[in-house]
């Protein structure tokens, strides 16, 4: 049997049996990765590259595509609708995500209590995020309808009826339409934030609360000095995911308002859809999509830096 020698100790050739085994060790994991790589390439990389390619062409029905370079990007960036759509999308994102974080933390704290019936309550809380956004859009649209909707029926039956107020037209007034979209988004995705916050709460050592109680720290102080620091990272992760999703929001807006009234609630994705699938200017829609990707990357980079900073801060203070 050959003696085992240290690596690089000599130029003597490796015995054949070990070399074959080492080759298998080297190849086998890579072979197992091939299906994943193929899937990623076909479903992600290729479509991205292809959309970048077609964004450089002008496409019109009945005519062959014409190379125009970056002209589509210039056309989108110089359009007032694009900048308005960025504005309305960012407003919806900031307001919706802020409310989701506030409510999500509250729900997580509630779910953390050991009370009877909490299992059922947990199921009911998480149910909205399991429903298709399209379905949610449709039933909220009927709920918000000024005449047939249950929301106005409740308002008319209570305070609206008492004060003789005109029922609010949720989907017709630009501000109320934006509020309606935020309500739907918060209703559906607060449970997601609550889920991440609940996971963060589970990482807090109970001993910290015990020590704080012994030191007569108030509930508020315990929340501020113990609970919140542990929640920062999971909440930033939640903010990251929710921001990406809300910037891309499409289904609920399309069904609720169609971008209306006028184009007041036409978010980036709704406008992009219109250019691509209504006007069928596919090249311009592809350029639009890439601009949305760039925007999302900017937002993601900022939030990821905050996450990294918060994790470093916890490491140094631990």
């Amino acid at each position: 049997m050959a003696e085992t020698t240290a690596p690089f100790a000599s130029a003597a050739p490796v015995p054949a049996a070990e070399s074959r085994f080492e080759r298998q060790i080297w190849w086998f994991p890579r072979i197992l990765l091939i299906p994943t790589i193929v899937y990623l390439f076909v479903m992600t990389v290729f479509p991205l590259l292809y959309s970048l390619f077609i964004s450089l062409f002008r496409t019109e029905t009945g005519r062959p595509p014409v190379w125009i370079g970056l002209e589509n990007y210039g056309k989108v960036l110089s359009g007032g609708e694009f900048w308005y759509a960025i504005g309305i999308t960012l407003v919806l994102t900031v307001v919706a995500v802020t409310l989701e974080v506030l409510f999500g933390v509250g729900i997580a704290l509630l779910l953390n209590q050991r009370l009877r019936g909490m299992g059922l309550f947990r199921l009911l809380v998480y149910l909205p995020m399991m429903v298709s956004p399209l379905v949610i859009g449709y039933f909220w649209r009927y709920m918000f309808d000024g005449t047939f909707g249950i929301i106005n029926w409740v308002i008319n039956s209570t305070i609206g009826g008492l004060l003789q107020l005109d029922p609010p037209q949720w989907l017709i007034d630009p501000v109320l339409a934006a509020i309606a979209i935020i309500v739907v988004d918060v209703w559906q995705w607060t449970p997601f934030v609550a889920l991440l916050a609940a996971a963060g709460l589970n990482t807090i050592p109970p001993a910290l609360y015990e020590a704080a109680t012994l030191d007569r720290a108030s509930r508020w102080m315990q929340f501020r000095r113990i609970t919140l620091p542990f929640l920062v990272t999971p909440l930033l992760v939640a903010i990251l995911f929710r921001s990406i999703d809300t910037i891309k929001i499409f289904d609920s807006v399309y069904i609720l308002t169609g971008g209306g009234p006028g184009d007041y609630t036409a978010t980036l994705s709704v406008l992009d859809y219109k250019v691509g699938f209504t006007y069928f200017r596919v090249g311009e829609a592809a350029a639009f999509s890439w601009l949305i990707v760039i925007l999302i990357n900017i937002v993601t980079t900022v939030i990821l830096r905050l996450i990294t900073r918060s994790r470093r801060a916890r490491l140094y203070t631990a």
């Binding site: 019109e60 029905t61 009945g62 005519r63 309808d145 000024g146 005449t147 047939f148 005109d166 037209q169 949720w170 989907l171 017709i172 630009p174 308002t257 169609g258 971008g259 209306g260 009234p261 006028g262 184009d263 219109k274 699938f277 209504t278 006007y279 069928f280």
Partner: protein, 472 residues
Amino acid sequence: MSNQAKSQFTRRNFLKASLAAATLAALPGTRRALAMQRESESGRKAARQAAKTIKVLALAWPSTATEQKLADETFTPDTGIKVELEALDYTFMEQRVKQLVSGKSDTYDIYHYDSQWLGGFVLGGALERLDTPDYLGNSKATIKFDDFHPEIAARLGRYPSVETALRTGKLDAMKDVPIYGLPWSLNCEVLWYRKDIIKNVPETWDDLRKLAKQVTTKDYYGMAFHANRAADYITVEYLPLLWAFGGDLWDAEKWIANGYINGAPAVKALEFMRDMWKVDKSVDPASGGWGFNERLNALLQGKTAMAQNWAPLFGNLPEDPKSSAVVGKIGYAVVPKGPGGRAAMFGCQGTGINANSKNKAEAWMYEQWLLSKDTQSALLKTLPAGFISSRKDLADEAAKTSEWHKAFVDSIPIIRDMWNNGDYAELLDICARQLNLGYIDKVPAKKALDDAATAQQVVYDSSPENPKNKKK
């Protein structure tokens, strides 16, 4: 248990034994299932080799189910050709066809299409030309283009359209225009009204407005519009008014918007609609967000005394007690007129053969069967199908089928349509956006329509179908 037995009976051994037992138990079933699948696959293969199957991409209209049933009962036994209809929601149909055409797909053999889509489909190469010796020009063809109502057939089948010819009925100007489709399902907007509330149908739009105000109560409004910004809702609501007031969408010869979409009659028509909810309070203010379902709901639930609505497509719905609170109470009449005349919104669909189909001969056989007198008569008699034929030889039968069929037949001389060129979608979107802003009073009507004219002119000027651009 002895130590030896314990060591033999480990968890690993138990799992191995369970897995083996489960595999053995599943084996016969698996073999049976595989055998059945092989048999059905070979059966399907044999069937495919024996008889062709053609696929039709249809709109999810009530008539589609009846069409499939008739095809299964009549066409397939007679010809051996199986027919599969796939019904798609209206919202997604146009983009689906354009995607199929871009990829030169032969998945479907026949497309049923809306009148606005004709230009885009022709330009995209979706539809086979039919005025050739293979189809309508064949001496053995069992249907002729002349079998159908001339203006409807011209609007749905010939492209490019000549709007003046269609309006005046002087269709000789279009006799050499190629034919790409045939008329299939017909509709127009007629006036639906509550017979128990409205005793005399209003003759003019001004009469309608006065009447709507008179009959409005706390339980229902006098009139309903669907003025949602999406799709073509507010546009198809508005156009009959625009035309009745003597206005027009554009100059179809010179491709000009200014002075038409924002002309005095256009502004007046939009202000008329707006003031009905804002001033008269005879229209539900929520109508600014209403689509088709909400307007229909208002009719069926007795929340409005009048509304424009499609006939005969949905004419049967008020008579269905499961969905209607006004059974037997809805009457149908031609839309009111204005100073510029009377015009009803065209809402018809055509049918054509996919230019990339591999079964064109079979598809043509199907089209001839579908548009034959017998099939059209059978569809007409099935009231829930909401169908009416454009065959001239069925005109009398159509008018007698029901009250809403008669209203459509009476409206044929006055039906008008919007653009059907390749850019119609963008023109329609601009129109809808600006009309909605003017209707909900976010922007004065004149400004809303001026902005529409400006935006639409950009589209007209850059359109490859604009005669100015064709000459270059």
